[in-house]
Symmetry: C2
Subunit: 431 residues, 2 copies
């Protein structure tokens, strides 16, 4: 069978499975998830053996130690995967929720009810635990999933999916075995073939670097939900509580610099820049954060044209490109702006529509910022780091969207559903 | 300027306008819509003159009389466009609705609030009134719109948009003039260029024949919401009230055969086929509906291998392809099935996920049908013709979606919005 035919078969199997999944009850799905968790826990030696094949391949490909670490499974990581599945059991079934109800003048009763999306393709990079996470969230929301992980993790991913499907089938004899499928080839063309099948695939969610995501958007003919990158901003207004502002900036940048909701740029109102910048710079320097400053901030922090009066501060001039950059690292752009309007303009131009925060006591400035900043999450006096399924109370998260069609912001189980309209009549016809 | 640069400029202008539109109040938008309606009414001679250019072009291109009729404006059609705009005034502002609110254990208050989608491209065929309809709905929902109508209607479309923008600008001096733009070229490449601009265009809605829509999906890199076609089904169950069933079938097929929510296929349970088919066939024959029957239905209706005992009934054998076809005409497929399960299978295989109806007194059969049929709207004892923004109480409709990501079913103003999350804190940081 050629690749196109192979991918079509995979998608047809997923479509058929999705119809059966949509009819499973919450209890049936939970029974399967429990069995899947147990199966992973009971298969540590097998998982480690398959994972070792991946690690060997990774070493032969010259992967960095950091990459090899992300790829590696061990007993505690396997237990953590199983724990993840049990956490999904505890979440409410997102399917069948009554979202709206109305009775029309002719007596027709309309209900808007949540349903699974259908068939979802998930494309991701090296960590094998994403396989279990993504599969469990798609399954609980009644969706069939086609998983395409990194080629380095192929052996681990395949066995994780096999164990999950096998366990579910033991627990529930009519479990549709094509509910969870791994693309069994590392051929890059496979993705393109899959994402042409508009009648069989309902959604694609790529997770990874901006390059991967742009390549997926470029070739996909099915809807894609994603965020390209997280260039998040904290704007410290002229009427900010400066202690609060320092604490939020420090948290947003340093609590976990490598994640998408970490701040990349600090915008400071000119009226407080002289006071606030040295204060926050000192704190950031103590956390080894490098600052890339616009001319005004550079002047304030640099004590003139060169050098700085703050011990251990790494300071350099920001380039235009820096403002567009997601560092995933301990680096922060700093720019002095003239009030909330200029802050909003900066964010509109350089931002990624992910998460931004204003620190101020001024309700009117906060209102302007929250209304006019067009990002998935906008905070007033809080860290950008809260844009997260767990922090939003969604339980688990399959990704974060900066899109405007479909889910926006953190995506939990509810965000993996669509809806349909049910009309209850007693013979109504249209006149 | 080359075409790509031209389209990019159009989209950049739309993006800038969309930011301003998002900040307009409901009252400001209504003021503009009122002024737009008046401007159309007061420009009848100018509109007729531009429309005459289009008609002349259409005649020179050899358009059919039906096509020329769709293209033609007259005083009553212009008044009806103006009335449409005033109806949009009366609808609630869909922006700024509080969709959800939650307070997290750390005190962070999260609000999910509706916002405009941003920049929408609408692609449609000949009728110039779509220009006013689509522009007014996008505007009221705070979206900038780029309109690409049929090339036959270019003069009419341009003037309609110009009049609307001019009137709004008179009414509201800071109205963003690029809120409503018409693609000023008939070059087909223009669409492809526009739909590559993933950072500037948020959504494309094509309206028209399946060929047009497939071509748009094929070339678009921005999200597309659409329905390819409406192959709608009525399933008459073994426990149906046969009078009700006849009345619904007749309505679903004949009340307006050329629309997407009209029925194309009648499925009849074998247990009542002998009684019901002759009954409904007689009624359909009186409305000049041609029936395309499967072998069982053919046998019942045809009185054997050929001919029929029902006066004036046009009857022929259905082909496999017929079951996939949206006739937009007085033709109905008829198939005898073994119960609700087979009806569901038929719909899953041949249907277009638009609108289906089951006629039955049996609650359990209805429940199975409504749960398992994966269409945008599923009815119990009602006509498929109700899938419509007006009938759903949305006021006006910009289209109908059979997609699973974004809006599904009739799309009114609310369906033209996205949402964002607002987080209200007092210094919360993540630990």
């Amino acid at each position: 069978m050629d690749l196109a035919a192979h991918m079509k078969k995979l998608a047809q199997q997923a479509r058929a499975a999705s119809r059966q999944l949509a009819a499973l009850s919450g209890d049936q799905k939970n029974l399967c998830l429990q069995a899947m968790a147990t199966a992973l826990e009971q298969s540590v030696p097998e998982l480690l053996a398959e994972n070792e094949k991946d690690l060997e391949f990774g070493r032969s490909e010259g992967l960095s130690n950091a990459m090899l670490d992300r790829l590696q499974l061990n007993e505690s990581r396997i237990q953590s995967m199983a724990r993840g599945l049990r956490e999904v059991v505890a979440l409410l079934d997102p399917v069948g929720r009554l979202l709206e109800e109305r009775v029309r003048p002719n007596g027709l009763r309309l209900q808007k009810v949540s349903v699974p999306i259908g068939v979802i393709v998930i494309i991701y990079e090296s960590r094998p635990n994403v396989t279990a996470d993504a599969a469990s969230l798609c399954f609980k929301s009644g969706n069939a999933v086609i998983l395409r992980g990194g080629k380095e993790a192929m052996h681990s991913n395949k066995l994780i999916a096999e164990l999950m499907v096998g366990a579910a089938q033991n627990a529930l004899p009519h479990f549709p075995i094509h509910a969870i499928q791994v693309v069994p080839t590392t051929d890059r063309e496979a993705i393109r073939e899959l994402l042409c099948l508009t009648d069989l695939v309902d959604l694609c969610m790529p997770r990874g670097g901006e390059g991967l995501i742009r390549a997926v958007v470029e070739c996909s003919k099915v809807p894609v939900i994603k965020h390209y990158k997280g260039v998040c901003h904290v704007y410290v207004d002229g009427e900010a509580d400066l202690d609060m502002a320092s604490s939020v900036v420090l948290n947003a940048k340093t609590q976990r610099p490598a994640v998408c909701n970490a701040a990349e740029t600090l915008l400071v109102d000119a009226s407080i820049a002289n006071t606030f910048l040295p204060l926050v710079a000192q704190l950031l320097a103590s956390k080894h954060v490098e600052l890339r400053a616009d001319p005004k901030a550079f002047e304030i922090l640099g004590n003139g044209q060169s050098g700085t009066s703050i011990p251990a501060l790494k300071l350099r001039a920001a380039s235009e490109q820096d403002y567009f950059t997601e560092y995933n690292d301990s680096i922060l752009n700093v720019r002095v702006v003239d009030g909330v309007e200029q802050a909003i303009e900066h964010i509109a131009h350089y931002g990624s529509s992910h998460s931004e925060s204003i620190i101020t006591r001024n309700e009117s400035a906060a209102g302007t910022f929250m209304q006019r900043v067009d990002s998935a999450a906008v905070y007033w006096n809080a860290s950008t780091r809260f844009t997260d399924g767990g922090e939003f109370g969604m339980g688990a998260e399959i990704g974060i969207s900066t899109d405007k069609v479909g889910a926006r912001g953190p995506m939990g189980l509810e965000e993996l559903t669509s809806y349909k309209w049910l009309g209850f009549g007693n013979g109504q016809i249209r006149s």
